[in-house]
Symmetry: C2
Amino acid sequence: MKTNHCKIVDCTIRDGGLVNNWEFSVEFVQNLYAALNDAGVDYMEIGYKNSPKLLKGADEAGPWRFLDDDFLRKVIPQKGSTKLSALVDIGRVDENDILPRSESMIDLIRVACYSKDVDKGLDLVNTFHKLGYETSINIMALSNVMENDLVEAFQMIKASPVDFVYVVDSYGSLDHNDIHFLVDKFQTHLPNKRLGVHTHNNMQLAFSNSLVAAEKGVELLDASVYGMGRGAGNCPTELLLTHLKNSKYQLRPVLSFIENYMLSVREKWEWGYLIPYLVTGTLDEHPRSAMALLASPERDRYAEFYDRMTTPEVNFNQKRS
Amino acid sequence: MKTNHCKIVDCTIRDGGLVNNWEFSVEFVQNLYAALNDAGVDYMEIGYKNSPKLLKGADEAGPWRFLDDDFLRKVIPQKGSTKLSALVDIGRVDENDILPRSESMIDLIRVACYSKDVDKGLDLVNTFHKLGYETSINIMALSNVMENDLVEAFQMIKASPVDFVYVVDSYGSLDHNDIHFLVDKFQTHLPNKRLGVHTHNNMQLAFSNSLVAAEKGVELLDASVYGMGRGAGNCPTELLLTHLKNSKYQLRPVLSFIENYMLSVREKWEWGYLIPYLVTGTLDEHPRSAMALLASPERDRYAEFYDRMTTPEVNFNQKRS
């Protein structure tokens, strides 16, 4: 097994922020950066580079949602070999906020979009590419995209300067056969692009799917420490660190970080394999209904939730009698 | 994907009993049987058929460790289509305790043994086979067996009447490549035997490994509800129920059981993906050191534990000066 071509992108702050509304202290982020750097992790996605002007409720979330280079320089005064990454959403980023890479702490900017918005996503990619950044485009909700739409998106991506294209299992609904199928498809249609994979753990398949993708030649593996991420969470960084063959990674610094910083976060906030996430995963649905259930007093009513999710919509058409 | 040849063996009571010292009420077991039967699960392993005479501390464990047919008939007065299974350990079973299958509630008796004890295991298998039971032999700690020992064991097994032979990932150290390798080996050496797989979840690979085994033709898939089992636990029954293709299984009855019975057990007892189990799994070690750590005041000292587990033994040879 040759997987030393892989690079780990730790998304703890960015995807984990979806769990705790980015309530990460500067100390937490600094210690995470140090641990990831010691462990040999290649990228740390330190947040979103969206603009607070373009997002409702922006004042409620901390600095990790609207990364600012002056701020980042204070957080990480001494950068190690771990690069920094930021995610942007279509329609939420102000291009004027982005410095040239030579003046920025950030190395990689990733654009998340749905298949239908790939053109808009690639506009952003072009801008970031011209500014000198490494770029990726992350097509979300792949399991719900029709073949013809995807092929059209591939044509645009193939002609773009984007460096990495992501296979994203937004709903945690994919198994290893799906990963084989999708990576084959991406490799066929995008022979000139490097690939990444972003998994969710609704069916306890995030790590396994990442390993399968790695073996097929996918380079960027998204993960987060202790799996912290929206809903069922992501592929745990620590599992990749210890299990990727022929790699330079060290497990110990991240174990130490989990012990000192993550356990208390996990006590306060919830993510991981919970039955409502299994239900949305297996049904190939967005986890929002599971998140709503878990925030309600009926959080443990699994059978009722399953019934609701599997019952055909009520027919609202009133038949005239 | 054709997996409808698979049968699920739910081990919640037997392997889960290793977590809570078999503190399962009769009501709990009855409701589990009803849920598994409604879900279409093929076998329920309802405990051990060891003899209390041959085991120290036997009086501390409930009836599920020393199954008795009169007792079982009271627990399950009306058997459904879910068959019952029991596990025995070498040297802990009294053959005189075993009724002929025609007079017993139990359908399948499984013999757990290490590779070096396969001869003794097969002696038991012969006895149970003559009494009319379905039989399996479960070779534990496969990852630590040398090839020559295994091939010798295969020769004896091939010539025996045993129905099923298990690939057992005792330490939760195997990934999908290992499963491919081992199932291929078993199929090559034991062309006349049906196979089973028993996984542990130390690296979140129990479900994925079970799926891979199923696709390769393995028939019996061990699992437990909510993954309840020793250490990191097993492949969750609910994941197999919902994800095995071309199957007759129903997820809902087991979701209902989890909601009503398992959540309170999980609050009281601990199993699943915990960092010490990741450490023993990735190091291909028995989980006992992780279990000891988790029962101690130092339970969260992951880095120290990792250091201890990865430091070469102290050299006790005293060099004469």
